[in-house]
Amino acid sequence: MRITLFIPCFVDSLYPNVGMSMVKILEKLGHQVECPEEIACCGQPAFNSGYWEESRAVAEPVLARLRQSEVVVIASGSCGAMLKVFYPQMFAKTEWAEAANELSPKVWEFSDFLVSKLGVTDLGAKFPAKVTFHDGCHGLRELGIKKAPRMLLEKVSGLELVEMPDAETCCGFGGTFAAKFPMISTAMGEVKCSNAQTTGADYIVSNDSSCLMHVQGLLSRQQSPIKTIHLAEILANS
């Protein structure tokens, strides 16, 4: 399969290893991967802040480029929700409406793509550690992804998965929310971290780097020994 891998801006600039792991995994499974140079961001920050016109300015080139693809895999549940769920809303009644509706079913979040589209769960990965999984809200509630990442983790040799209390509760990131209401965002993150700590896990794993950036930011400040890691990085480890 010819897969277009969309690496969103913050993964590109801050977490390249997540994208590299995805390329490695998809190629190992025998697929042809392309990563378009000319597109960088899905436009979510402006959209979430209510600036739809400014968001469309970022999203139009993305739409124009990706509509040619056979299948689009995206390295974040949140950006995935933007393309799949919010583009059709944001472009409704514009000349791009049809393109947005066409693109939506072709977009897959990475873990969901592996499990639901490719039917793969065992990637032969090894990761001897105790981990707990945090469900990113957009992946969980906009895209309905709950089982796929856990099915993948279960097949990783040496890995022990322990669920934390309230795994489905938001980590408090929320994009610009984290900067506009830092006190609430921080409190939510602290609750998330302390829930994760009760499991005794070595790692908090997620399929969304944005949540991990927030949680890791708090953990480092608290000098907590727990680390964060993206699901793809675990799956690429052999």
């Binding site: 690496i7 390249p16 590299m20 209510g50 600036y51 400014e54 938001c170 209401f181 830092p182």
Partner: protein, 463 residues
């Protein structure tokens, strides 16, 4: 006057650091979640029940004109006096008019969020009447002279010790930690009031169009006494409370109990169909129903967010909301807090003044997932944000997003920005968290990730 947003932020700053509050609310709501999940199991299929409820409310709200007229006609047929209030001021005037015409002195009230919405207690007290809240939680917050903390659990922010100390101070009772004893103290104070009250005021959980009946749900029996003992009964109802048929209650009563409090059915479910009829031995001599609009019809005119009128005020969205759990009910400064409050307050009280509540959300969607009548709550927050910025854009934000679009659409410029970021990182480390730090709203509590030596795209290009 300080802007509402500043007040919100100030209170949020204080309360999010209050670990006692955090622990109290988390514990209470965790208990609720366990009970709720157990009760949900009693439904054959909870998701289908939600769908059915949403469809019934859709029908009711989309034909509100017909159902309201039917409701009012049926009520009047049995001698109930029906009043229509467009504004809170009109509603207060109607109610005070009735009270005055009865030469009433004391008023007993059961829980009604619509009364909070129109600040009825204030108005009655200012007019010289004694008003007593008969719901235990409401009674407690009334003694504390504060608004309800939560639409279903008005005093959930207080511990038994807090309540005991309050009763000791206000009612002169002996301190106790037993919930039963605390209830008895309140009950003794309240019973006297029921007997002497001239007018009873209630809210309504549902208004049944088919039969012209008010349905009230409660756990303490206080609403029954409020309705039955005084000679005059006044019920204040938001117009969105209508259900088409009596049989709809078969779904809505257990659903409200389950979603709202994790109960199979609320303790007392009563229907009121009019004043005392000929040959009946009890009930009020006069029954008034005041139907309140207060800009609900404006929300009705908005096809995108009309479903917010489906709300049955169960409070479930508050209970699962991580924002509510961390800032608590009072911080909102509104009658309706939590997700539903953030959605409707801009409609009820002005978008520009209250848009901050729609911004104060991570858009996690836990509310939408839980709402028993399937209101698209978190997407409405997005729509409020869009409407607010279309109406009155912030020049700074617009400039920032335009600039971002300019940069991100030019690969060369974007690459340059990443390189600049790497160059500036050591400089940023020097000011991190200080007043000079442009990223202070992040870095005052959180570390930033360090910039990797190459971006994904650089790696891809050179591969």
């Amino acid at each position: 006057m300080k802007a509402f947003v500043e007040e919100f932020k100030e209170q949020a700053r204080v309360i999010t650091r209050d670990l006692r509050h955090r622990g109290l609310i988390q514990t209470a709501l965790r208990k609720y979640e366990v009970a709720r999940d157990r009760r949900k199991g009693a439904f054959g299929n909870w998701q289908m029940a939600r769908q059915a409820a949403a469809e019934i409310k859709y029908e009711a709200i989309n034909h509100l004109d017909t159902y309201l007229a039917e409701f009012a006609d049926k009520l009047m047929d049995r001698g109930t006096q029906v009043h229509w209030a467009t504004t809170p001021a009109q509603a207060r005037e109607i109610i005070l008019g009735i009270i005055k015409s009865k030469n009433a002195k004391s008023i007993i009230k059961s829980k009604a969020m619509t009364a909070e919405e129109i600040h009825l207690n204030d108005a009655m007290e200012k007019a010289g009447y004694e008003v007593v809240e008969s719901d235990l939680g409401e009674f407690i917050v009334q003694l504390r002279r504060e608004p309800p903390y939560h639409i279903v659990f008005p005093a959930m922010h207080l511990t038994r010790d807090d309540i005991s100390a309050l009763f000791e101070k206000e009612l002169g009772s002996a301190p106790t930690r037993e919930p039963e004893e605390l209830t008895m103290i309140a009950r003794r104070a309240l019973r006297k009031k029921y007997i002497t009250a001239d007018v009873g005021i209630t809210g309504a959980n549902f208004a049944i169009a088919e039969t012209g009946m008010i349905s009230i749900t409660e756990n303490e029996g206080n609403a029954r006494l409020t309705a039955a003992l005084p000679k005059t009964m006044i019920t204040l109802v938001g117009i969105e409370k209508v259900l088409p048929k009596l049989e709809d209650l078969a779904l809505f009563l257990p659903m409200l109990a389950t979603a709202g409090a994790g109960q199979t059915l609320t303790g007392y479910n009563t229907m009121y169909g009019g004043p005392r009829q000929k040959g009946e031995i009890d009930g009020p001599e006069e029954f008034h129903v005041v139907l309140l609009d207060n800009r609900r019809t404006e929300l009705l005119a908005d096809p995108e967010q009309r479903d917010a009128l489906h709300c049955i005020r169960c409070g479930a969205c508050l209970n699962v909301c991580p924002i509510f759990k961390n800032v608590g009910g009072h911080t909102y400064g509104t009658t309706y807090s939590g997700p539903i409050g953030s959605v409707i307050t801009p409609h009820l009280r002005g978008l520009q003044d209250w848009k901050h509540l729609s911004n104060a959300s991570s858009l996690c969607g836990a509310c939408t997932e839980t709402c028993p009548v399937k209101i698209d709550l978190h997407h409405h927050l997005l729509q409020n944000r869009r409407n607010a910025s279309e109406q009155e854009p912030s020049a700074l934000e617009r400039f920032a997003y335009k600039g971002f679009a300019f940069l991100i659409n030019r690969p060369g410029l974007y690459q340059f920005a990443k390189e600049m970021g790497r160059l500036l990182e050591p400089l940023h480390k020097m000011v991190k968290g200080s007043k000079l730090d442009p990223a202070r709203s992040w870095t005052s509590t959180r570390d930033l990730p360090s910039m990797p030596s190459q971006s994904f795209k650089e790696w891809w290009r050179n591969r």
